[in-house]
Each structure stands twice: as C-alpha cells, then as structure tokens.
C-alpha cells in the first residue's frame, strides 16, 4: 500500500462521504435522544428490519442464480438477459412500484417486501456475476470432473457468497431507507409504516435537527449490523480465485437444464423488467384512457423536448461522480482488502454514507459546503457531483475490495520485487487485472447517481436533473410524461451497452 496515496484517498472520502455525516452528528446532545426508543418506534424498527431482511433475502434468492446463469452458462440469450437485468436499478423504486401497483392489487407489507426485493436483485446479480467470472477455469474443471454442474455450483458457491452477501447488504440498506415504496404500496388497505417514515417525519416535526439526526441512528445501526454477517462471510470464505495463471472459465453447459434455466431467467425478467417497463410503455401511450402509438410518440416527444437539458445534466453529474469514485475506489478498495486489523471498522465507515438517510446526507452537504470559502462550489453543478460521489463511493470501493480479496497476492509481490513502488503496483498490476471490478463499480455509481434525488435535492443544481422533472410530473398525475421520461433515461443509459453486447465479439465490461 502506498501510504501517501491511501492518506489522500482517505482524506477525500472522509470529506465528501463522511464529512456531511460528522457535521450533522455534531449537533447531537443528550436531549436529542428523548423519546427515541418508545414502544412505537421499536415496533417500527422491528417491522423495518423484517422488511430489509425479507427484501435482501428475496434479492439474494433471485439475484444469485440470475447472476450466475447469465454470466457463466449457456442459457440462450444470456448476454442480453444480463444487460436487461440491470434495468430495475435505473428507475426509481417508486416509479417501478407505481407500475406494479397499477397491474396488481397486491398490497401491504408482503407486497412492499417483494417489490423492494425485485427492485434490488440486480445488485446481487451483478456482484455474483463478477465473482463467478473470477474463478479459474481449472478449479471449475476439477469440480466438473468430480460431479458435473451441480458439483461446480457446490464448490463455487462459497467463493461467490461473500460478494453476493455484500450486495445483499446494499439491498438491505436500500430497503430500510425507502419510505416512498411502502407508503405507495400500502395506500390501499392497512397502512404499512416503516422506520424511514419516522426519520422523515422527525425532520418535519422538529426544529431541532439534533433530534432528527438522533432518529436516524437506529436505522444506521441496523444497517451496520446487517453488514457484519457479510464481512464475516468474506473473512472466512474469501478465497484467492484469481491468480497470475488465471484462465477464464468456460461457459458451463447445462444440457437440457438450460431451458429450465431460461424459464427462470425470463420469469425474473418478466416480473422485474418486462412487466413494469411494458406498463411504462403502455402508460406513455395513454394507458387506461386509451393507448395509441400516436400518444406514445407525443409523450416521448414532449419528454425529450422538456427533459433533454435535464437528461444532459443528469448524465454529466452521474459521469462526473463515477469518474471521481474510480481513484478513490482503487486506492481504498485495495487498502481495505489488505488490512490486517480494523477491516470491519473500515468497511462500516465505507458503507456509512449510503447507510444514513438521504435527507441527513443532503442536509449535511449544505452544512459542510455552503460556506464563503466553498460557496462557488456549492452553487455550481459540481456540488451535485461531489454529493453523488460521496454518497455512492461505497459501492465502487466495496466492489473493488471484493476483487482485491480474490486476487493472488503474488501478483503484487512479483511487481514489488521488480522494483515497482506501491502506487505503480496498484495502477499497473492490481487495477488493470481487476478492470472489470473497476468499471463495474464505476457503472454502479453512475446508475445509482442517475436515479438519485432524495439527497441531491438539497443542493441547488439538483433542480436541473431529470429525476427532479420526473418526480414533479408524478405529482401532477402526468403519467404518460413520467413513463416516457423514465424510459428515456433507461434508453440513453443502456442503449450503447446493449448494442455492444449484441454486435461486438468482445464483451464490453461495463456491466458491474
């Protein structure tokens, strides 16, 4: 590890990722905690835990097989399904929930859990896919010879699970921090309140921000607790599967089972992608008031006309955030993977920016950056970039750390003996060998930045983002416009990668 590089990266992450949190936590005082742990709030916490665990479990149940099948097997059309599998991440969960709620009368807690599980399964699928691709062909072949594909699955699952568990933790974080989806889905029937409602309401009901910050602490604690099993799993089962002699594993032949696998993959896509996105297309064309192709054209035309500038802004901010996260992820991901002591604490600090409620993070950014010395930055579009990078760097860091944990340390040792200094080893040996993890982490940051508004709304330039326009259109019942705009976002982000996947011989490793 290069100490100066690590110090710089830690400083940058501390400022953009942890600074907003620290500055808000500084407002706590003993009175902030009054009434925090009442029977009512504990009940909400319990329900929220169940929601988070349920959503994470479902995301894992779907995501692990989906990721493995589409990345490693001969399921017909696997590259296309793999690319499509990322789509649910590109659309705000509320918009997806509105689509599903329009198609079914399934409501309440179970519906909420299911929807959030489906909305977050791509995270688990992506991490699983990458972990599965890092397994040396010969290890896999030995298992294949011993007992066929099922033996391969049994042997490789322990290597894949640490990455999948990490992603499941993120799914948990998203689920427990979301109040819009539970609110919407339980708008008919018994109300399903979650702790995130309590956090949001605290900002409304209290002029004292300390109390509102205190309200967020149980949720953050819950998230960090959920991270512990994932870290433990990684510590115990992380195996070096990627060494200097690495041979990329071949496509696994499933035989007749490939059709069963295809049915499973398509079923997942049907629920997670085709149905809600199909509904969006239907809504864009007029929906229940009469679908016509002309309406679709008109809706898309209007969305493009009104939303073009917003789309450009969002694409710029998301790209900037992703680029900013790349060096941070490489340095901190590597450092955290190589830590002998304190790795758990490091992982918790890394995940903190995404574990705190969006409103706390957003307001923390105001408190941190809206000062005379940094006013110009705060007023500019780059404040959105800084906020997004701070919020989502966790994904890039942990994705790269997962890759580093699997890489043979002898790669770095050989470079060291050759005379390469730590920074050079990192940039010329480790990062290039783990390029898919680098690009994948950056892509995740990009995707999540595109759909982020809850925290970003608190900085001035967020007014110019496409999500801002979309959410306001939701309010005004402009379903056709909302649907068209949501689809446009997806289209512009995914199209280049999808086309490449279909036509190019070489895999475009932008999928995380």
């Amino acid at each position: 590890m290069s100490r100066p590089l690590v110090a710089v990266a830690v400083l940058v992450f501390a400022i953009v990722g942890l600074g907003p949190i620290v500055i808000m936590v500084a407002r706590l005082d003993p009175s902030s905690f009054e009434g925090l742990f009442s029977e009512r709030t504990l009940s909400l916490l319990g329900r929220t835990s169940a929601l988070g665990l349920g959503a994470a479990a479902l995301a894992t149940l779907i995501g692990v097989p989906f990721g493995f099948l589409t990345a490693r097997t001969d399921v017909p059309g696997a590259p296309v399904w793999r690319a499509l599998g990322i789509l649910p991440l590109l659309v705000p969960p509320l918009v997806l929930a509105m689509s599903w709620a329009g198609m079914t009368s399934f409501r309440g807690g179970l519906a909420t859990t299911t929807l959030l599980g489906i909305a977050t399964f791509p995270l688990v699928a992506l991490f699983t896919a990458r972990a599965a691709e890092r397994i040396d062909a010969r290890r896999e072949e030995a298992a294949l010879l011993a007992g066929g594909v099922w033996a391969v699955v049994r042997v490789e699952l322990p290597w894949i699970l640490p990455s999948a568990a990490c992603a499941a933790c993120f799914a948990f974080v998203f689920a427990v921090n979301d109040f819009a989806v539970p609110d919407y889905v339980s708008s008919i029937g018994p109300k399903y309140n979650v702790y995130a409602d309590e956090v949001f309401a605290s900002w409304r009901s209290s002029q004292d921000t300390g109390h509102a910050v205190a309200a967020a602490i149980p949720l953050v604690a819950l998230t960090l607790l959920a991270l512990l099993p994932a870290l433990e799993l990684r510590r115990r089962q992380a195996a070096v599967t990627f060494d200097g002699d690495f041979r990329a594993p071949a496509t696994l032949r499933l035989g007749a089972w490939r059709w069963v696998a295809l049915v499973f993959v398509l079923a997942v896509l049907a629920i997670g992608v085709f149905a809600p996105f199909g509904r969006l297309v239907w809504e864009s064309g007029g929906g229940a008031r009469g679908f016509t192709v002309d309406n679709v054209q008109a809706a898309f035309g209007r969305a493009l006309e009104l939303g073009r500038v917003n789309l450009q802004s969002s694409l710029t901010y998301a790209t900037g955030a992703a680029l900013l996260c790349v060096p941070i992820a490489i340095v901190l991901g590597h450092a955290s993977a190589r830590l002998v002591r304190g790795s758990r604490l490091a992982a918790m600090l890394v995940i903190l920016p995404v574990a705190v409620p969006a409103i706390l993070f957003g307001i923390g950014n105001i408190a941190l950056w809206n000062r005379p010395a940094t006013g110009a930055l705060y007023d500019s579009g780059w404040m959105v970039v800084v906020l997004l990078a701070g919020r989502f760097a966790s994904f890039a860091i942990l994705a790269f750390a997962a890759g580093c944990a699997a890489i043979d340390p002898r790669l770095e040792e050989a470079a060291r003996l050759s005379g390469a200094g730590p920074a050079r080893r990192l940039t010329r040996i480790v990062a290039p060998a783990l390029r898919p993890a680098v690009i994948g982490g950056a892509t995740l940051v990009f995707v999540l930045s595109m759909r982020e508004l809850d925290a970003a709304i608190f900085v001035p330039a967020a007014n110019g983002t496409v999500l801002f326009r979309l959410y306001n259109a939701v309010h005004f019942g402009r379903d056709d416009f909302v649907a068209a705009l949501a689809l446009l976002v997806v289209f512009f982000v995914v199209l280049p990668g999808l086309v490449w996947t279909l036509v190019a011989r070489r895999k475009l490793e932008v999928l995380p």
């Binding site: 605290s202 008031r289 000062r371 007023d379 780059w382 940039t427 608190f458």
Partner: protein, 349 residues
Amino acid sequence: MLPDMPPRAPREFLTLLLVIATLLLGASGCSRGPDLVVYCSLDQEFGEPLIRRFEQETGLVVKVEFDVEANKNIGLSTRLREESRSRPRCDVFWSNEFAQNVALAEEGLLASYDSPSARDIPAAFRDPEHRWTGFAARARVLIVNTKLVDPKDVRSMWDLFDDRWKGRTAMAKPLAGTTQTHMAALWLALGETEARRYVETAARRAATGDLNLAGGNAHVMRLVRDGQAAFGWTDTDDYNVAREAGFPVAAVYPDAEGVGTLFVPNTAALLATAPHPEAGKRFLDWILRPEIEEELARSRSAQIPVRDAVPRPAHVADPRTFRAMKVDLREVGRTITARTRELQELFLK
C-alpha cells in the same frame, strides 16, 4: 547495492486528478451571479413562467430553485434554515402554503416588508408584522368519484369514517404538506376534544384499512379518479388535474354548516438575510399583484384568488359561495410542530 528509486506518482492518477481539479475549478463561478434568488415550492410548471416574465419585465436575472412535491416543502425550508446558519443565499421564499413561512417568521428568519401590492389582500392572509403575505390559495376539498358516489351524499369530513364507505375513502398521511396543516388547523377550528376525536378515528381506521392512507394529495386524487377509492381529502389543484383530464370527479367543500373549508394560500416572504433585499422587494411587489392571482386562477393549478374582486374561471371556487374555516393562520403555523408530534404518535405505528 541497487540505486535508490524515488517513488513517482503514477501518470494515470495525476492525469485524473488534474481533470477533476480542472472541472471543479472551471465549473465554479464562471457565470454572472444572479440579481435575485427565489426559492419556490409552487410547482415549477406554474412558478417558472411567472418568474421568467418578471425577468423580462425588470431585466433582473433571477435564480429560482424549486422543490419536489415528494418533499412536501421540507426541502426548501430546511435548506433555508441550514443556509442561514453559514451563508444565506435566498432572497425570497415563495411557498405554496403558509405553515413553513409562519415557522420561519417565528424563528426570526424573515424580514418585515409591507408591499404596496398587498394592501388589498384580506388581513386574514397577511402576517400582522408583514413578514409574509398570502395569495392565490388552494382549498382542502373532498374529491369524489361521481361514478361511485353521488357528491350530494358527501357533506362532511366525518363522512370519511362512514361505514357505508368502509375501505373506500382516503386521505394523505397527515405528517407533511397541506394535510398536516389541515389537521393542525382542525385543533383550532374544532377544539381539542373534537379534533382529537377526528384524528384518532382516522388513525384507527387507517391501521385496519377502513380508511386508506396515501402518500400525498396527488395520490389520493389518483385513487379516487381510478375508482380505487370513492372519495378522499385533496387540494383543489390536484382535483383540477383530474377534472381537466376528463375523469369522473367532483369537488365537495364539506361542512358548509360546520367548521368549513380550510384555505391554504401561497405565501411569499423576504428573507431577513437576503443578499439582494431591494430586488426581493421588487419581486414581492410584482408577485403579489392581483394580475398574478388571476393568472394562477386560470392555470392548471386553479389557485383561488384571496381577493374577491379578482376574476376567475367558473371551475375555480369563489370563497364567498362556501364557508371558509375561520382560523388564525399564524396560530396554525405556530402550533403545527407540536401537533405533528402528536400525529406522528398516532399515525406512525
């Protein structure tokens, strides 16, 4: 012994850092600063054209920032409070309701300005100390699906709990937005006992699903227009969206012989820490004119002029034709925080 090899910073890192630094530096402060900064929680679709017209007429460059409806006004008012701690940016806060401006006034964040344009606005909609001024209101109404219910059968807010419509009525969660304000106003209009009875009944029925609790007024409107609910509380602007789109809906102004209908005016205020106070005053003088109320009345948001004399389309209610809830807006704003805590205890379980 091998010669010393001092470490070199990798080319890639340096390049990336240089690019990032250039972008950060280049993006900051490269355009002319605005003459006026307005935070506006009225929907961008309606607020922005007006502000752009102000720009054209005055030559002032206005930076306007909006909120998302999902934030229920919390975004802008919270930003105002935070920014006032370190570096005030905003000159004028144009809120689509009044409670936040009352709260900001109580915290000493608003300046006193008696705009000449506001002199004909009824006193009930103006802060006695001229810290905020109300105009162009929405009314709290029951939106009714006329295919499911005859609007004549819905007369009172208590009808929401009638077992005839068990499971088919709706309201927004009263912890934010105009529903929150409405419930706080009920305490003053109905008195402690009746108001408590109302909210407790609502909370109890929401827990069992006898009353549907939506995320916001727009959502209530959707539920009713789509027939998933027979009727429910919403605001006149949301009702108008459904009406204009041709859905079978009607608006009922309930309790015409009782507590009446709450009006929720837009309120505009000059910030005490406004960096451009004179420009702020010009804007207030401009936005508080009757012509603006007329324009907002004609818009899709169908805002109700608070001035009787302002012309309005037929579908925009005339407050003289129904009973307005008599409450002191300032008192509603002052008590809303305490009431919200109680509502939180009741509804968030």
